[in-house]
Amino acid sequence: MVIAMLPALVVSFYYFGLGAVKVTLTAVAASLFFEWIITKYLLKQQPELQDGSAVITGILLAFNVPSNLPVWIIIMGALVAIGIGKMSFGGLGKNPFNPALVGRVFLLISFPVQMTSWPKPVPMFKAPMLDAVTGPTPLGIIKEGLDKGDSMSDLMSKVPSYVDMLLGNSGGSLGEVSALFLLLGGLYLLFRKVITWHIPVSFLGTVLVFSGILWLVDPTQYVNPLFHLVTGGMMLGVFFMATDMVTSPMTPLGQLIFGAGVGLLTIIIRVWGAYPEGVSFAILIMNAFVPLLNRIKPKRFGDAVKAN
């Protein structure tokens, strides 16, 4: 799991420099600390940090925030992610919602200004480190522009090129910017059979189809489907968040429905919602449906055939 996140992590260090390193280390250390202290003193059990789940939550939380976020805000995020998102339900395997997303959404609602001032990516060694330069995400540019009544073609010329968005050279949270490297990590997870194809395929498929229909209806109002795929937390959500075993359904059919639901909600929020980005909300909403989706039973041996 951690190996799969390395490509995207390295890219974030490359574009966001020391800020990204600082955010990641803080998030991981804080997650481990809160998990340890809560298990030991509140649950009164033997802490088991070696299972690595707190490290993953920490990295995922860091992936979901801007690289210039103050340290104390990150620590609060980790406290909510681990304390409320995970340990309050009894720890590993028992939480209904993805802990990192619980932390992220808490921060987004509580600290909207800090959480939405993304530093511009500055490739390492190429330019002097400038801390103060911030800018919006591609999705933000489109959303604000459309609300103001700008034309779609104007707006598309303002956003980074597809190549930049694939590689990570665009504004955004530190781990979500590089679609390509996240995809690489996702394929590794699939290859190692840590995750199955069901959720990623139905998630991406639904996003493509639904946003494709909107785009065909009115290309001046709705952005094209490929743009949706490479921007925001899409790839991060598809491979690392929605596929979280603990908070996703357990049968293949349930997983397909879950993925489709997340895809649908993401586009609805992106297009008509108040926020430019909807992946995290969509996943959390579908997390709530998992117990219901788990009532879908696997195919039992012998049911399809009649005895003679």
């Binding site: 049968t251 041996f301 003679n308």
Partner: protein, 444 residues
Amino acid sequence: MKTFRLGGIHPKENKLSAGASIETMEFPKRAVVPVAQHLGVPANVIVKKGDMVKTGQMIAKGEAFISANVHSPFTGKVFRVDDVLDSSGFRRKAVIIDVAEEEEWVENIDTSKEINQDIKLSPKEIVDKIHELGIVGMGGATFPTHVKYMVPDSKKVDYLIINGVECEPYLTSDHRLMLEHGEEMMIGVRILMIALKVNKCIIGVENNKPDAIAHLRDIAAKYQGITVEPLKVQYPQGGEKQLIDALLRRQVPAGKLPLDVGCVVNNVGTCFAVYEAVQKNKPLIERIVTVTGKTVKKPSNFLTRIGTPVSMLLEKAEADLEATGKIINGGPMMGKALVNTEVPVTKGTSGILLMKKSESKREKEGNCIRCSKCTSVCPQGLEPHLLKILSKQQENESCEQERIMDCIECGSCVYTCPANIPLLDYIRMGKANTGMMIRNRSKK
């Protein structure tokens, strides 16, 4: 290549004893012959202390519908009829025989090695013979064979299926039998086809035994209607229901028998026993036992008389008991740990597996992270993680709804669980409780 459709795993095969020819085991001084070596009602003892018995003489009669006769594997004097600890750790009735120096067989038994090809008996006579001579399923479940061949008129059977899969890692007794007694086994197959009045038979063999497949194909070519089908190496390919699904694409519904989808399944070892019974009048008094494991110096296959203590087999195979952590009766997936090594070999002992101390240690149980790997490998399409919780909380009615009784106890879920949760231990407990609830309900 054919295989079953749901779930399955591929554990390391570890067939250490595959190259070891069958060796005949020496006789013990004293033999313990349990009267409950089969599934069903124990047989009633018909000898008493002090009686002299000949090899092959009946010593216990299975009088219930599902039961089997037991014959004396040795010549000697009955020392005692008493309750003795058997391989499952229960005290059960057994006939203890002091083995004499000179062996004397019951008169009508043909002990020559000559192969007798002529099948003279009628279907009914064959079934009676199988019944009389105590033949049971040799694959491990030890279901009395004659019961399978008493087909009610309402059922139509069109296939005999022979199980030569041997999907359990380590075990090789069926493999060696197919190689060394293929001819006799095939006559047994033909006898069973006559008894069942079918003209089609498929022998399923896992593809990790190409020599056995080639050998059986050579023999089968001489006869009409017998085909040998290689199967993908996938556990539990040798499960009765999985095997039928793999070969015929028919699935036995929950709570039903292979008869309900038109077939009867028997193990290759059973076919050999049927040959010996019908053609040679020889009752089931010996079987091939694999003795294997990483702490066994000479992994072997022994032709062993029933009643021989396991300790003698271990000695002959040069087992290092110091380094052994656990001794298992059967294979690593479904076998059960032995309580001691003085228990006797019975009709169902297909192998004795020794595990190193490090292999037999249980890993610490972690939290379930709902990865659902157990669901994806279950060959019966069940949800082991859910059954475990329901069993633990004794929610017997929910267990029944979630089809706990369909579980074939193959252990694939335990094998695959990343958190080392002993799922099957809980499920077995749940099955016992749920089964009791269902039986009590039908009593009312």
